[in-house]
């Protein structure tokens, strides 16, 4: 468990954050630029000291201003991957990797050089110097260097921000591998929903120095606080499920989501793989009676739990589809009036198989289609 409750006034900005999140897990600190995400992870790392409050990791108090506890950064064993990698320019790649390993306590050794080289594909880079690396390679070396310091927690400050979009794939899959193979808890800062979608198990939403909501990604995806951050186009629900059937010939797969099954078009699906599906609110159709003669492949039955205003003239309908899973649908005020929708009503959620965006969530072999 990582729990913190801190106050920090810094450079005319006030941070007031409270968070409890399970470990191991991957928590995304998600919010717009300048909302205090980096300040918060700097406080966790110890590089910044809070004015007031405490930070606790798996029962170890790292900072407690009231108890006057402050473990210095160098003894916290918290790995930090900076936005700009910060490789030591006077050392080669191997010496950079070894820097933290040599300084880690012997009894804490749990991951070795060979394993890190394999996990991050660093073998071919070993003899190079930092200036000879691309942005993505730099971040991978920085990740390896942090891992070899045998951290109890890994902090990542927008690790992909300094890399152009096309080359993010040089790093993202490795981060997914780390999440699935190692049990090191991670906190990463991001303002890109797609990164969060691929990496996070939990999300803490930040706005103006405060954590406005936190929980699993599925829970957070339907929260109104998220809408303001991601903008109207990205509003939708994110659901975690399991692949239950694969029809390779048709390029289709069934995913168990809550109480329902979703047919989605997927390539290379594997039965039993965990899968994350994003259903955008604008792609969802609602029907108050069973629909016939439509090309839509999915009709999930559910109950309306919330009707809330959306951007412009639209409204968002939140429909509970069972087992705690919920879907958001964006419809017009006209449609709301015509169908006489109200909270508590049972209806059908129609989802086109091609509009469900699937993302591998656990080491699987699924590629999104």
């Amino acid at each position: 468990m990582l729990s913190l409750s801190v106050i920090k006034c810094w450079r005319g900005f006030k941070l007031r954050a409270q968070l409890d999140t399970p470990t191991p897990g991957v928590v995304a600190l998600f919010g717009r630029s300048g909302c205090g995400k980096t300040t918060l992870i700097n406080i966790i790392s110890g590089l910044l000291e809070p004015d007031e409050g405490r930070v606790e990791l798996d029962g170890v108090i790292l900072t407690d201003t009231r108890g006057r506890i402050r473990i210095p950064v160098e003894r916290r064993r918290i790995g930090y991957v900076f936005q700009d990698a910060r490789l030591f320019p006077h050392l080669g790649v191997l010496a950079n990797l070894r820097y933290g390993e040599r300084r880690a306590p012997k009894e804490a050794r749990s991951i070795g050089l060979d394993e890190v080289l394999a996990l991050l594909g660093l073998e071919p880079l070993l003899t190079r110097r930092p200036y000879q690396l691309s942005g993505g390679e730099r971040q991978r070396v920085a990740l390896g260097r942090a891992l070899l310091s045998q951290p109890r927690l890994l902090l990542l400050d927008e690790p992909l921000a300094a890399i152009d979009t096309a080359r993010r794939e040089e790093v993202l899959p490795y981060l997914e591998t780390l999440r699935d193979r190692l049990s090191i808890p991670m906190v990463f800062v991001s303002h890109q929903l797609d990164e969060v979608l691929r990496l996070a198990t939990h999300v803490a939403l930040m706005e103006a120095g405060e954590i406005v909501a936190s929980g699993t990604l599925s829970d957070i995806s339907v929260r109104p606080e998220l809408r303001a951050i991601v903008g109207p186009e990205a509003v939708g629900s994110i659901l975690d499920g399991t692949v239950t059937r694969v029809d390779a010939a048709a390029g289709m797969a069934d995913i168990q989501l809550g109480a329902g099954v979703l047919h989605v078009s997927l390539q290379d699906a594997r039965v039993g793989a965990r899968m994350r599906v994003q259903l955008l609110a604008r792609d969802i159709i609602l029907a108050i009676e069973p629909a016939r003669g439509l090309s839509v492949r999915n009709a999930l039955q559910g109950v309306i739990t919330e009707i809330s205003p959306d951007f412009g003239q639209a409204v968002l309908i939140k429909v509970d589809i069972g087992a705690g899973a919920a879907v958001l649908a964006r419809i017009t005020k006209n449609a709301l009036a015509a169908l006489e929708l109200r909270v508590g009503m049972t209806l059908w959620v129609l989802v086109k198989a091609v509009s469900a965006r699937g993302h591998t969530y656990s080491a699987g072999t699924i590629t999104p289609r």
């Binding site: 590089l47 950064v73 916290r76 930090y80 006077h90 820097y99 880690a104 942090a146 310091s149």
Partner: protein
């Protein structure tokens, strides 16, 4: 060249070399204090260190003489505890040279320190490096070009010290008569024009060599530390 002239050359090199060797650790420390610490005395320390740059060198030599000669408290203490006598000795000439060139060295090292990215030191902290370890493994190597530049500048300037040296350590042949002092002496003597010219040419050659070497070395180090 006469043996006396060779002696002057040797003495110049020796004094300049020793003065930079002795002042280097102190210069790194002072540069660190000036660049990184925020204690209230920083401004006074900065002024004190730079004083020799703006004072007449003769005044520096004179101040050293009154504070360190055999009659002064510090002079007696040095004599009693270490058997060191400064005025009229090579050690004295070295001290005068060190004081005069100290600001140049501090300046170069401080600039180098200020250009070291403190983010790298923060990264080293998160990797478990404690303060001294961090300084030795990250900060110092990254300052190396500046330290070398400071050393070479101070050494080159040390070769040419005149006013402070002649005032504090006098002009004793073979002991404190360095190249510039020998040149001065030659000019004073009737018929010493040829010797003066030889010494002047030697000083020019030495200076040029130093500058070229400094540039080559700086280029090498920068390539090594490419950022």
């Amino acid at each position: 060249m006469t043996p006396a002239e060779l002696d002057a050359l040797r003495l110049s090199l020796e004094i300049a070399l020793r003065s930079v060797a002795f002042s280097l650790p102190l210069a790194v420390l002072v540069a660190y204090l000036l660049a990184r610490s925020r204690f209230p005395g920083t401004l006074a320390l900065d002024a004190l260190v730079h004083l020799p740059l703006v004072l007449p060198p003769v005044a520096v030599g004179y101040l050293l003489l009154v504070s360190l000669d055999a009659r002064s408290a510090a002079g007696r203490w040095l004599q009693a505890h270490f058997g060191i006598e400064l005025p009229f000795t090579t050690a004295g000439a070295t001290l005068a040279t060190a004081v005069m060139t100290f600001p140049l060295m501090v300046r170069a090292i401080r600039l180098a320190l200020e250009s070291v990215d403190q983010g790298l030191e923060a990264a080293a902290r998160t990797l478990g490096a404690r303060p001294l370890d961090r300084f030795l493994s990250i900060t110092l190597p990254l300052m190396l070009p500046g330290i070398l530049a400071g050393l070479l500048t101070a050494f080159a300037a040390g070769l040419g010290q005149f006013g402070a040296v002649i005032t504090f350590a006098s002009n004793v042949p073979g002991v404190t008569r360095t190249l510039p002092l020998a040149l001065y002496t030659a000019i004073q003597e009737p018929g010493g024009e040829a010797a003066a010219m030889r010494l002047a040419v030697l000083a020019i050659a030495l200076g040029l060599l130093g500058l070229v070497l400094a540039e080559l070395l700086a280029r090498r180090v920068y390539r090594l530390l490419r950022r």
